[in-house]
Symmetry: C3
């Protein structure tokens, strides 16, 4: 049912839908990530907005097709915006939680725990952030248990990405070491997951599609890059020009 | 009087003045656009500053040669900075209004209407933003009427740019589709218009020069780019190295 | 004792330590510089964080190996963060002051003077900023006297960089004119100095190493760039791949 080839074809189809429907993705995200995230969303076919102000965030979220809540550079304005946005987003519009660096800050960890209980459609994080959020090592079982308990898809990224909703689990082996050398790459991946959720109602499939797109674009881009500096424009070019054939040929999945 | 060739030569001359005089352009602009806008101003020969704080914005504006007011990511600090800056800018120093995404937010639309009545030398916007600001479709007549009523030059950008002060109207056909795939390209265009206003007292000519520079740099850069990622550095390179011959040869204008 | 070749070898060794130890550098820096600074730190082997919030900055600084305090886009949140961070940083962890554009703003100049008296391990600035801070022309004698009086290493950058702690002075002639055409290049240099201070206890050597790395990476990158746009990714690539042989061969130092 979720044979690797089917998931790769599904991912190609999600990308086609992004380009056709151009979903609006409102991002409450950190100051370091805003520009790169906006450019990654545009490269994928989506339309980004980034406003944080309490006067305006409700208007933006009300006309958005998906919401990203990223906890980086979490200041007073961002805290207020997150609350307003999650209330405004309503049950129909999916939102993604990215609990950036919660392993480095206690108040942020507490906020992440509260937000995780407010039913994000997906949570995208790395090993250290999962440990800080769930209080356990990120084994396949722990990830599945946490996803099932929370009712959110977990998208864990690293050398090997894992996507689970508790019942279904897939590992994505695509990607390149240069991805860890460009700031905000994980933040942008979360935004792409939000965009995919806007066009694919099955949150597990949408999250897998988003991380597969980033992983495949990353490894193709690495072939064109001379280091982390040229890698960033290269992944934007690659994502913008990615075709179904490349996705199907490159996808490396493990059940 | 405004034959296309004359306007192209004027634009080349404005660029030469930017490089010789290095005007200071203070930008109150959105968080997504700050870095790219600063780099575009530097590439054109201008000197950017970006401070928003109410303690400092007056000092920065007082020593600036032009001011940009961009309404993106409009938070409390930016609202306060805009008020202080417009008071500080004085009658001699030109300022540009960029009413970003006012079609998405009612409070921002109201602020834009108030600011438009405070005599910006130019307003740079797109179709949807003009509709939200003026309440009518952006026909050539409506643009000219709005410009004449407000006493501001209107620079409407899109597939075809239109610059009008009510009496004079020119369409600029330069540009490339990749320009819509890089975030903050319009914001940077507004900053370049502000820089041109610092060295060219005729606001209509300055606005036309700014949009012509961006359009021509954009289409030259598109030839060197592999997608939106490499397009962003390419437009910076092109603007930095642009020469009079290329401007005169490439300019595609319609009266 | 500080023969040019020894200093170049020391710089290569500092870079090797950066890559091996991956020091955490917490940056309170301006909105324009955050993304590029994070990418420069990653390219050098360090791990950046950028949070400003008063709830979190203490947690981040407490687990950091060095701190950067950059006064650009100085708003209320940044002012509060600076105070908290300098208290939290403790005597063992080095911090760097970058008094950006204090020649343009009186309140910022006053803050810089106060911060300079709180014993930053190094102060990185340009000619105009030194004049505004010290009230005298940046002659070799004035720089040495100011460094000795303050007890901080001074790293003055420009066409020719000068590093002095009062007793020892070296000039670094590496670099390229394109470095002045990319926003936040100086800000990123200060962050690299902070990273070097995390792995090299002699602050004069660390500051010289940081500025040598940036200058050498800059001139190698200029050879691969077509203008300021492609120069920014090129300097990231170059810094990421820089080897000891290139450093020793390229270093141009004057005592």
């Amino acid at each position: 049912m979720h044979a690797p080839r089917d998931l790769a074809l599904m991912t190609a189809d999600v990308l086609a839908r992004l380009r056709a429907r151009r979903p609006r993705v409102h991002c409450i995200t950190n100051a370091v990530a805003q520009n790169f995230t906006a450019n990654m969303l545009l490269a994928a076919g989506a339309v980004p907005s980034m406003t944080l102000s309490r006067d305006e965030v409700v208007d933006f979220v009300a006309s958005a097709d998906a919401l990203l809540v990223n906890l980086g550079t979490l200041d007073t304005e961002r805290r207020a915006a997150i609350d307003l946005a999650i209330i405004a987003v309503g049950a129909q519009v999916p939102w993604v939680l990215d609990p950036v660096l919660i392993d480095r800050s206690r108040p942020r960890r507490e906020l992440a725990a509260t937000l995780a209980s407010r039913h994000p459609r997906a949570i995208r994080l790395n090993d250290a952030e999962f440990r800080a959020l769930a209080g356990v090592e990120p084994s396949a079982e722990a990830l599945a248990r946490y996803a099932a308990t929370q009712g959110s898809v977990i998208g864990l990224t690293g050398g090997r990405d894992v996507v689970t909703d508790g019942a279904r689990t897939i590992a994505i082996l695509n990607g390149d070491a240069l991805m860890a050398k460009v700031t905000a790459m994980g933040c942008a991946a979360s935004a792409i997951v939000a965009a995919c959720l806007a066009v694919e109602p099955d949150a597990w499939r949408a999250t897998a599609a988003g991380l597969m797109l980033i992983g495949i674009a990353g490894e193709v881009a690495a072939g064109a890059a001379h280091g982390p500096g040229t890698f960033a424009p290269a992944i934007l070019d690659t994502l913008h020009g990615l075709d179904a054939g490349t996705i199907v040929q490159r996808a490396r999945l493990e059940q």
